[in-house]
């Protein structure tokens, strides 16, 4: 050890560098995050989970759901669609523009497209191409808009509409993004769960609805009890081979209800500045439609 101080300094430098990189850097980058707004509807985002769902987060944690389910959607790129909204008056000129943009379309197809507006004239093109197409369509007298569409394997599996960002987890403690995907990603599970009974049945025995699932059963989140007078409206239905003996019923406990409330609250698909995404057209005149929730003129797929 005739280089003791040097070894010490080298070790100190190595540890200090990793501390700066893994602790200080991320803290400076995302440690001061504040709630943000959706774009362009300016709704508050994220919204804190309602009480029961917040309790469900603890049930999710206690049962180790995060060991097999991730909560992070990846995105590998962003493409654009061009949606034609209004055709304008000069149909012949517009048809010519559309045929120029879509050499693979016949004139009949172009005219059909004009008859069924709003219609996506171009799909999966780059932003520059889309913006150029919108300008060309404007010259043809039409109103077109660029739709921003995130893409990636996870989005292809319908696990989300855009990538997960730090803002999505702002009110969660602890954050459980998960690292393994034995089961599907749950970042947007609230948007695709059919109904609460399905979710309860899935927790009770996943094999009922998903044949061959390796998900363990969680019967201790439920209570099997004797039917007193009449069956409870909360009792699980269609349990098939897991059905309780005759005269008994399976009802969810408070824990199961909290967990399902949490699962329904998992939804991270709001368009944000940091994760651009087009969900609906600007509600210009019809203000009675729900704000920014239903795509009113989504491009036809």
């Amino acid at each position: 050890m005739n280089y003791g101080p040097l070894v010490f300094l080298a070790a100190f430098f190595a540890l200090a560098t990793s501390w700066v990189g893994f602790v200080l850097g991320p803290q400076l980058q995302v440690g001061q995050f504040q709630p943000t707004n959706t774009v362009p509807t300016r709704a508050d985002y994220p919204v804190a989970r309602p009480g029961l769902a917040r309790q469900g987060l603890d049930v999710y944690r206690a049962n180790g759901c995060a060991y097999c389910h991730s909560q992070q959607v990846g995105q590998t790129g962003t493409v654009c669609d061009v949606s034609l909204g209004e055709a304008g008056t000069n149909q012949a000129a517009l048809t010519a523009v559309i045929l120029k943009l879509r050499p693979d379309w016949s004139e009949t197809q172009a005219k059909e497209a004009l008859g069924s507006l709003p219609k996506a004239v171009l799909q999966s093109v780059s932003l520059a191409q889309a913006q150029a197409a919108v300008k060309e369509l404007a010259v043809g007298g039409a109103k077109a808009s660029v739709w921003v569409v995130p893409v990636g394997p996870d989005i292809g599996r319908a696990w989300g509409k855009r990538r997960s960002v730090a803002e999505d987890f702002l009110y969660d403690y602890p954050v459980m993004p998960g690292s393994l995907r034995v089961g599907p990603d749950l970042a947007n599970v609230g948007a695709r769960l059919p109904d609460a009974n399905w979710a309860f049945r899935h927790l009770y025995a996943a094999q009922i609805d998903a044949k061959g699932s390796v998900m363990p059963r969680y019967p201790y989140l439920f209570e099997q009890r004797k039917i007193d007078h009449s069956p409870s409206p909360e009792a699980l239905t269609s349990l098939q081979q897991f059905a309780p003996p005759s005269g008994y019923e399976v009802v969810p406990t408070e824990e199961a209800r909290a967990l399902v409330a949490y699962l329904f609250s998992l939804r991270a698909d709001a368009p944000l500045y940091v994760a651009p995404l087009t969900v609906a057209s600007a509600p210009a005149t019809d203000t009675n439609a729900a704000a920014g929730t239903t795509p009113t003129n989504a491009p036809a797929k």
Partner: protein, 208 residues
């Protein structure tokens, strides 16, 4: 085992090795330099310089900005968001007004007027006095507060968006209010600090 070996075990062993100075090979220095060079280029192209708005697959804040929702000219969607933030407390989200607080905007002849010379002044200066809307008189003791009194409170862009939204929502059929119109009138009344009166409003030309 003899006694002598026990008493002096180091005598027959070689001395402890010592590290000596030796020059770092030149190729290693060159390799390190190239790696650092490549690392910095990689960082510059992909990190967004640690900006909190840059997530993959985007590479820079400018690139994120390119994909943002943009509308040329007045944007009623932004106007709606701003209206619901500033105006709907009194005028209600459906533009029907609230009893004792504000007259309706939906179907109002003041909102649907062909020119916007009068309309823009109302949020900028506020309004006091009895005003007739849709054939019904409205009079509020405090009048309307100048909600857009300063550009800090509501920027020109937001005000033109709000007024465009108001003129096109709830069955209203007015032309959009442009940024230039808002800017011109705000510059014109910049030094005034009193509320506009309905009498003055009626004397103003509708279009300028």
């Amino acid at each position: 085992m003899s006694e002598t070996v026990h008493s002096n075990p180091a005598a027959s062993e070689p001395t402890e090795p010592k590290a000596a100075r030796r020059a770092v090979p030149v190729w290693l220095l060159v390799l390190l330099f190239l790696l650092i060079y490549w690392g910095f280029i990689y960082f510059d192209q992909r990190s967004g310089w640690c900006s909190p708005v840059v997530y993959g697959p985007y590479h820079s804040a400018e690139e994120v900005d390119l994909y943002q929702y943009k509308v040329e000219g007045p944007d009623p969607a932004n106007g709606r968001a701003a209206f619901e933030k500033y105006c709907s407390l009194c005028h209600n989200t459906d533009g029907a007004g609230k009893p004792g607080q504000a007259p309706p905007l939906a179907g109002s002849e003041w909102v649907n007027a062909a020119g916007v010379n009068r309309l823009i002044r109302i949020p900028v200066l506020g309004l006091t006095g009895q005003i007739e809307v849709n054939g019904k008189p409205y009079d509020f003791p405090a009048g309307m507060t100048p909600i857009a009194a300063s550009r800090e409170a509501i920027p020109d862009k937001d005000l033109s968006d709000i007024l465009t939204y108001v003129r096109q929502a709830w069955g209203n059929k007015g032309a959009p209010v442009t940024l230039e119109q808002v800017k011109a009138i705000r510059d014109e009344v910049a030094n005034r600090s009193t509320q506009l009166t309905v009498k003055e409003l009626k004397e103003l030309p509708e279009t300028k």
